[in-house]
């Protein structure tokens, strides 16, 4: 069981993420989009979406800080465990709650606005469960384990285990006896990673940072290929009442 959860699951999830993303890129660039519903409703979106996305950006930054950077590195530059803990608790809680609040607004909007709800797929709903679950558990971990119960030094257990996965030295024993909230959070996280390439979340991979460096006007030559014969492209569906 330990082996399954803390070795097999992470590797399977990462493998699915990589293979799935490559597959999606090769076969479904047309479906690679944010699938924005701003056209239907923009008042709530304008509050919820930036709150969620910016919150999430800081959440990811926090994970990089907490999981990828070993404890002795931060101590080497003179950050004590107490100081780190405070940053992790308050910063993490703020970012996590912002993302959670943003997501709550977005989910409410999705349910309450008719057109947005009817544009929601089953895939979306599954993704919301995993993403929302991870976020909720993450916030619980930060606030309950690290705050209310006084603090758990996950940098001795969870973080080395996490790094071990990438260094190809997975050590499931490190996860013995961790608080169960941490365990659930990690499992939800890896399930989300596995689902990632098959959902609309892939738009995160095409974050348009290149835009900052390209000229405004784009010229491109038409390719000289003749008219292709193939099935009608996706996107050509007849108009129907839902």
């Amino acid at each position: 069981m330990r082996l399954l959860l803390w070795v097999a699951l992470p590797y399977a999830a990462i493998a699915i993420l990589i293979v799935g993303t490559v597959w999606r890129w090769r076969y479904d660039q047309f479906g690679w989009t944010t699938r924005s519903s701003e056209l239907y409703e923009s008042r709530l979106l304008r509050v919820g979406s930036p709150l969620f996305h910016f919150g999430l950006a800081f959440v990811i930054l926090g994970h990089v800080m907490g999981l990828l950077i070993p404890e002795n590195w931060t101590e080497a530059v003179g950050v004590s465990e107490g100081a780190y803990h405070a940053v992790s608790l308050w910063g993490g809680a703020a970012a996590g709650l912002a993302a959670l609040a943003g997501m709550a607004i977005l989910i409410y909007r999705r349910r309450a606005t008719g057109p947005v709800f009817s544009a929601t797929t089953r895939n979306d709903k599954l993704m919301y469960v995993l993403l929302g679950g991870s976020l909720l558990l993450g916030c619980a971990v930060t606030i309950i384990e690290n705050g209310v119960r006084g603090g758990y030094d996950y940098r001795q257990t969870v973080a080395p285990w996490f790094r071990g996965i990438f260094l190809l030295r997975p050590d499931p024993d490190l996860m013995n006896g961790i608080p169960w909230l941490y365990g659930f959070h990690a499992v939800f996280g890896f399930l989300l990673v596995a689902l990632f390439p098959f959902t609309r979340l892939v738009h995160a991979f095409s974050a348009p940072w290149r835009y900052a460096f390209r000229p405004y006007i784009v010229y491109r030559s038409r390719d000289g290929r003749g008219p292709a014969t193939r099935d009608p492209a996706r996107g050509w569906q007849p108009i129907t009442r839902r």
């Binding site: 690679w32 944010t34 923009s42 348009p208 835009y211 784009v218 839902r242």
Partner: protein
Amino acid sequence: MKVMAQLAMVMNLDKCIGCHTCSVTCKQAWTNRSGTEYVWFNNVETRPGQGYPRRYEDQERWKGGWTLDRRGRLRPRSGGRARRLLSIFANPVMPSIGDYYEPWTYDYETLTTAPLGDDVPVARPYSLISGEPMKVEWSANWDDDLGGGPELARRDPVVEKISDSVRLDFERAFMFYLPRICEHCLNPTCMAACPSGAIYKRTEDGIVLVDQDKCRGWRMCVTGCPYKKIYFNHKTGKAEKCTFCYPRVEVGLPTVCSETCVGRLRYIGVLLYDADRVTEAASVEDDTALYEAQLGVFLDPADPEVRQAARRDGVPASWVEAAERSPVHALISRHRVALPLHPEYRTMPMVWYIPPLSPVVEALRGSGHDGENADNLFGAIDTLRIPVEYLAELFTAGDTAPVTRVLRKLAAMRSYMRDLNLGDPGDPDKAAAVGMSAHEMEEMYRLLAIAKYDERYVIPTQARAEAAALEETVCPVDYEEPKGDGPFGEASRKPAPASVESFHALKERQTSGALVSPDDRRGRVNLLNWDGKGRPEGMFPMRDVEEDR
């Protein structure tokens, strides 16, 4: 100078009867799909009117097009790169479906399935967005033919720019139709706003397209375009726009909207322009100078210097030739009767309009005057400030001088041609009054009134351009034989142009062939290898040999 070619369009608004055939055929061809129910790549607006989407010309609100920053450089009105990336999670100024209109259908089924009864069954409207029954309250041409009256027309952003006294007057005065498609601008803001770089301008014909595989649905282009001619497909989550019917024009056919235009008011042709000067022209400080600035970017295809530069920059000869015959070039640059739509957006639009003279003619007729008398018309153009000011707000950023000049030309042409039709000799003074010769006047008349299909649409095909590129019909005279090998050994240098290669190969084939051309018997040609081209050396016996006999 960098010469580029673009397919451009001119519409003669005097001929538009507002029948919406262009819109309907375009929709049938391109946007009859789920997700694009509300989308009209081509729409016809009644002016004065709010347009589609509602009040799209109010750039204070919608932030379309470009502005000049403090240092006089172009910047999208909705903000530069940093601002756009920061607002990527929710576009702050995107029109909602309500600003376009909520598309609907009817439950036609009830008409046939309703049980027999006293009441006539009615098909109720259902929303195509939510699927619920809905009340139809707006559409793409709700204020068609001034429907809704002055209350709706008064909210036209162009009307709001004209002063109040004028406003009341014009409500009685005039109305005309404005068909709109994507402008396929030289300096498009939609493209500048696209974070993914999915929108591009084709180098061959200047058509602006969205790469559907690269678009990620950030929706910034919708805000960027001041004409609001980029639409978000809410089913696929991708941006879509008018394609200038590129599959048709590539094979030489006009766009669907042009092909089906009942009034035959659309002209399509090639314009040559200097790509290096576009930004400079778009950053002219004075809004009213933008019309002239854009005219300055266009090149005259008859100019030998331009032709040479076009050849250098890879514009196919067939395109340069088409540019010379282009009706669009004639109307925009030669006769100067076509004007750009809202040049003050600084996008350098490439669909131009001949402003309508009919409001003036109608006003004259209405007051009992002769609407085709040149003096009457000239007087009316000068005194009827309202239509002229309105047109100037549309086409020249408020400067009435160019609009007046165009209207006077059209008026002079009417009057001049009436004389001819009545059997009188043409009066060259009437042409001279607007700075034209009698010949030019008749030429313009022909183009505006009776131009046939192949005069209205001069569209060079891509196939010919590509074939020409392969053939290299133009032999590079200044080609210099490269000396020695390239840096990576034999044949590593740039390959010689095909025409040079085949020239040498031909010569080689014609004059070599040891079998039949031994050194001792000069003047022989291997006829088996001769392909009938040219006159190889030694084809005919040498003269001195002949004399010896």
